[in-house]
Point group: C2
Chain length 556, copies 2
């Protein structure tokens, strides 16, 4: 069996100009980055056309640690749609660089459903992450510089500064640091830390903004901390937003690449799915809808996290209206929810699959609550048994829900033809009545409770003293009207990673509520969120190499 | 008078394909980054052709803090050479991003002698600095990870780790930090710091390497520190070089842009001129020589630093042989060396100019010691008086040295026609007998003494206890055969920034000797070297903005 990188390197890529031509984008509008990548100018966005096209959301049941292959299904589905004659584009997040050197595993699909050139996409790509990193760290430098300088000093209390620095690298030693050591010339010593770049609020901002003006406004709205006399300080108070936006001059433009079978793929932004909205940019989604009839996109983690945030935050913010949802399930994840340990997931066990179905059912019900027609896609693995597959199909039939085996990994678009046909049928029969779960102007606690009880299945929500203090602060800052982007484990519908299946009657514990005033949401925290991964004992970096011709090996 | 950015934005740029065509590079060989930037594949380097072309080095007298405009003269000269019919390319360093947000001042030339597109070049350009930053920080993460992990643990003594992290940002708070705080999960707490990316040894490595294989060897040779039982640890012991080289996959390729008058410009690498070799990459210089008949390049700071390192390290390492040198002098710098304070440099003062001439003379003699024919270029400023200019011309005539007024800032190539003609005459009359100052295999102290006495004018060299300890370490590691890259103030020929003019009889103090085993040189330190600048009280960032069309303002 070929590795992903071998399949990718054996593929014959089309010139990016030919891919653009499929979307009606003329060569002159392309900003090429080599022969197989390009940036698309924002002027190609056509709001009217975007409204008429079909947005398909790919989401998943509660995943195992390895993930259930949403990206692979999304790419596969777009290839399937192309096979049945639909003008299609797949719109995805850009992968993060740091994890590439940690544990093997690409973020550009897999097998016969990849986006290419995979080495570029997984390394620096077109520099968007790097630009976001620089914009983020410029603000950090301006904050410490303001604390240090007599001129223009805002009186920022360094103990209240919430803005950390970022680096796109798995580097646990940077999680908690003391900066400003070495004497008066080096600033004021204070404790802070680094997050991975994908966790930057600027990443979330870039992905929610509408245009450069909106970008600047949101950058200016970033909440930094307080002055010594307890006045809030925003990035605009430091005059930072213009320079930050200048650093994002090109990062704001969506990137065009191609899937293995030549489907145009738009990759843009990659915000965390636990503490941010976890989907590609609004501009990229609109671009996809402007240039094709079907735009397939995905939201991070399970539907309780990714889809909920996609629908309540991104779609509400940008006025997007998906036509159908694809709920990805894998036999192994269902067995996991049916009680099988991680080590035994490859062994056939139809009974465990049956026991895991309630997790699938809950996610199905959740998506239906949003008024979306759903098709379940069983992302196939080589060790799935026919009986296991039939078990899922029977369960779906019982619920009256469409189901299709998705075999894009092994067979590309041919393997997702049935899924593509199901998606088209759902889309074209016009039964979509998309509505978000809550109104943004509800009180914060009500918004949280609505999601917790309706989506997660919680009985109640409990707030720590810190969370209550944060709520008072949010009220004082008049930010209660922001939507909530709940940070919760993806491993369970509840906030306890050990509760697999369909937990009920639990209490969701909120230990604090962060303010992402620039991105435009609040982040209620349940459990500990890792924002800076570490490297494993034997990092993937040690296997990566490049030869004198520039051919990379060891990347997945 | 127009600002640089206004001139740049009013310019009509040629498509980069047309610029490449001037060099005989076909469209298919170009890796475009938008319409006005491209990467050039290393396969375009032609060693034989490179040997036949003319390499012109632009260097300067001891500069004032504002710099004497070497880049502007280099670009202007290349435009002048084009005007008189020579197939010319200018080969320069890439500017660093960090300082853009500190004190105003471009690093892409000025006035009518700029390289374009200046906003791109001064911001992320083609991502080379970012790639170097990532490669550098990956090694740092692997070091801390090795200290943390039981598996594969090399027994690195964290107190001996010399490898810091880098960020292309003026951020003084990062100069000295403690990392690894927060408990056992976050690594071992230790003191370290951040340098600006241009100061990274990887930048120096990229600029001295010959190809990808050589790059990997040099990356593997990076000296990190010692184990608890005092064994040296190199990057290769961590197995880091393959992944680092993969991160530099595209950064290794030189970048093509254009000067205002359409002269092809190759920009690649930007190592510090105080602690590293301070010139563009060997590959870029060879590329320029392969594709044109005249390749104009520059070396950082004054000739005592930049030119010496260019000639003794880069040229010796790569077998390059310059045909002529241009020594840039400004009236204001000569006045400064003649005793005028920085605030009064705009006032006409021919007598002060006369008093400053010995600095010019010393640099002239130094270049002549390398066997290079020299022309003095007086980089003109609007407030220079005719009498002041004539003073310099008379002094040069007395020494029998060619001199030309260089007016590229105001008049582009037309303003450097005389300079270009002088350069061609020196080059074509075949009197060049280039020879480096010392042999690499001399003992370290002899190499240092040769430079100190012959180039700087020192009477002697004194070593601190630390420097002597470092010398013993270098001997133990068998690295005595490396050339020396002396870190010294650029403000004076001596190591005392206050000694302007032509100091004599001083002692050069070496307080330590760093090992850059990957780059392939030793760094004797005289005085304190700033490797992480800070932002000023009123940072340039506050004036930078971008409008909804993507047009940037406030950048210089």
């Amino acid at each position: 069996m070929n590795r992903d990188i071998e399949i990718a390197q054996q593929a014959t890529l089309q010139d990016i100009g030919a891919i653009a031509a499929k979307l009606g984008v003329p060569e002159g509008s392309l900003e090429r980055y080599g022969h197989h990548k390009a940036k698309l100018p924002l002027s190609l966005i056509d709001a009217e056309k975007a409204r008429q096209s079909n947005l398909i959301l790919v989401t998943a049941i509660s995943p195992t640690p390895a993930g259930e292959g949403k990206t692979t299904v999304s790419i596969g589905l777009s290839q399937g749609l192309q096979k049945i004659g639909k003008k299609t584009v797949v719109v995805l997040r850009e992968p993060s660089l740091g994890p590439v050197f940690g544990i093997k595993g690409g973020a550009a699909g897999g097998g016969q459903s990849q986006v290419l050139p995979m080495e570029d996409i997984n390394l620096h790509f077109t520099g968007d992450f790097s630009a976001i990193e620089k914009a983020h760290n410029l603000l950090a430098a301006l904050i410490d510089n303001n604390i240090q300088s007599k001129q223009g000093n805002l009186g920022i209390d360094p103990r209240t500064v919430l803005w950390k620095r970022v680096m796109d690298m798995n580097d646990r030693a940077l999680r908690q640091v003391v900066v400003g050591l070495g004497g008066t010339g080096n600033g004021l010593p204070r404790e802070t830390g680094f997050d991975i770049t994908a966790a930057s609020e600027i990443m979330a901002i870039l992905c929610l903004c509408e245009n450069r003006t909106d970008l600047k406004t949101r950058l200016g709205n970033i909440f930094i901390g307080f002055t010594y006399d307890r006045k809030p300080v925003y990035a605009r108070d430091l005059g930072a937003q213009g320079a930050m936006a200048a650093l994002l001059k090109d990062a704001i433009k969506p990137n065009l690449v191609q899937a293995l079978e030549g489907v145009p793929a738009i990759l843009h932004g990659g915000p965390f799915a636990n503490i941010a909205q976890g989907t590609n940019s609004v501009m990229a989604t609109r671009m996809g809808l402007s240039l094709a009839d079907y735009a397939v996109t995905e939201a991070g983690f399970g539907a309780d996290l990714g889809a909920e945030k996609f629908l309540d935050i991104k779609c509400q913010s940008a006025g997007l209206s998906p036509k159908a949802a694809v709920l990805v399930a894998t036999i192994r994840a269902l067995k996991y929810h049916g009680g099988v340990s991680l080590d035994d997931l490859k062994n056939p066990d139809p009974e465990a699959v049956r026991k895991g179905i309630p997790n699938l059912e809950k996610h199905l019900e959740n998506l239906q609550q949003f008024g979306l027609p759903v098709v379940v896609a069983i992302n196939r693995f080589v060790y799935d048994s026919e009986e296991e597959l039939a078990t899922v199909e029977a369960a779906c039939a019982e619920k009256g829900v469409k189901v299709a085996r998705s075999d894009g990994w092994a067979n590309g678009g041919e393997g997702t033809r049935a899924l593509a046909e199901a998606v088209v049928e759902l889309t074209e029969n016009g039964n979509t009545r998309f509505k978000p779960l809550y109104e943004w102007n509800m009180p914060v606690k009500e918004k949280i409770k609505t999601i917790a009880t309706t989506i997660y299945g919680a009985a109640d929500v409990a707030y720590s003293r810190e969370a209550e203090r944060d709520l008072r602060r949010i009220r004082k800052l008049e930010l209660e009207g922001l939507p909530v982007c709940i940070a919760k484990t993806q491993k369970s519908l509840s906030d306890d990673p050990k509760l697999t299946g369909r937990p009920e009657g639990f209490t969701l514990h909120i230990r604090g509520i962060e303010i992402a005033a620039g991105a435009g949401f609040l982040v209620p925290l349940s459990g500990n969120m890792m924002r800076m991964p570490g490297l494993p004992a034997s990092p993937a970096a040690l296997n990566i190499d490049i030869d004198d011709e520039g051919v990379i090996s060891g990347l997945f």
